[in-house]
């Protein structure tokens, strides 16, 4: 049987890859992918622990909530990215250094 530790190690690896993407990438879309990886690592943890709660299903239900939240986050983030692109003609976070006026 697969133990909890196995799931946690996989999710730790995914979290660290996501962290690397968020820190090092110079493109807002790839940073967004990194954030999604981190969220998925968290969801994997929720699901793995949710196995031991058959009556209330708290792990699985909060995993569903996290997926829905991720969808909302992505929609807003992409709208912001499109606005930034319209204003600066680039989505490199290093070059975005001015406010509106």
């Amino acid at each position: 049987m697969i133990t909890l530790t196995d799931f946690l190690v996989v999710s730790v690896a995914l979290f660290c890859i996501g962290l690397y993407m968020v820190v090092s990438k110079r493109n807002a879309i790839q940073i967004l992918i990194g954030i999604e990886l981190i969220l998925n690592a968290a969801i994997l943890n929720l699901v793995a622990f949710g196995k031991y709660d058959k009556v209330n299903n708290s792990g699985q239900i909060f995993a569903l909530f996290a997926i829905v939240l991720a969808a909302a986050t992505t929609a807003v983030a992409l709208a912001i990215i499109l606005n930034v692109y319209r204003r600066y003609k680039t989505i490199d976070p290093n070059e975005i250094n001015k406010l509106k006026d």
Partner: protein, 182 residues
């Protein structure tokens, strides 16, 4: 070594390798499509954790929704996006990326240590759940239980998240409108 274990190692290998590839690829489109593979193998891992409903939701929302949104953002943001990527040439082990790699590796070491120190397989509540038969077994069908719980015990978070989703979508539509009017 049972078949379940083999499948688990296979799926987690695919998930981690494709995530690494998405992180190291210099081609943005390729990194988006490899991320697709990561999401699918994660859905497989959810099935192995006996959460089939979450796995289906993952496929529907993540693969069907979020990935298409990301592709849209990529296509609407012009070819300058690609130029930025071409500029950062060099190998994976770029000197500029060294701090990020060190940070990620140190985080990995610390977190793996935490996981093994915490000894999650012998947590008191996990042992209680196993002894009280409160553990999901592969033959259980959990979907109806999830539906009942969602509408009774977790009704308040459910409503809160639906309002949040509405607000976020209205906000996204407002942010992405054409400038000039109002």
């Amino acid at each position: 070594m049972t078949l379940v274990r083999v499948l688990f190692y296979f799926l987690s290998f695919i998930a981690i390798v494709s995530a690494l590839f998405a992180a190291s690829s210099k081609n943005l489109v390729r990194s988006i499509f490899v991320f697709f593979v990561t999401l699918f193998s994660l859905a497989g891992l959810y099935v192995l954790a006996l959460a089939d409903f979450v796995a289906v939701t993952q496929v529907v929302i993540y693969v069907g929704g979020i990935l298409v949104l990301i592709l849209f953002a990529f296509m609407l943001s012009g070819k300058e996006t690609l130029n930025v990527l071409q500029k950062q040439e060099g190998k994976f082990l770029n000197i500029k990326k060294l701090p990020a790699i060190i940070l990620a590796v140190l985080f990995f070491i610390v977190l793996v240590n935490v996981v093994f120190k915490a000894d999650v397989n012998n947590l008191p509540w996990v042992k209680d759940a196993i002894s009280l038969k409160n553990e999901v077994t592969p033959t259980d069908i959990m979907i109806d239980n999830i539906g009942v719980n969602l509408m009774t015990r977790y009704l308040l978070p459910f409503e809160a998240i639906s309002i949040l989703l509405l607000v976020a979508l209205v906000g996204a539509a407002h942010l992405s409108r054409k400038e000039g009017k109002a």
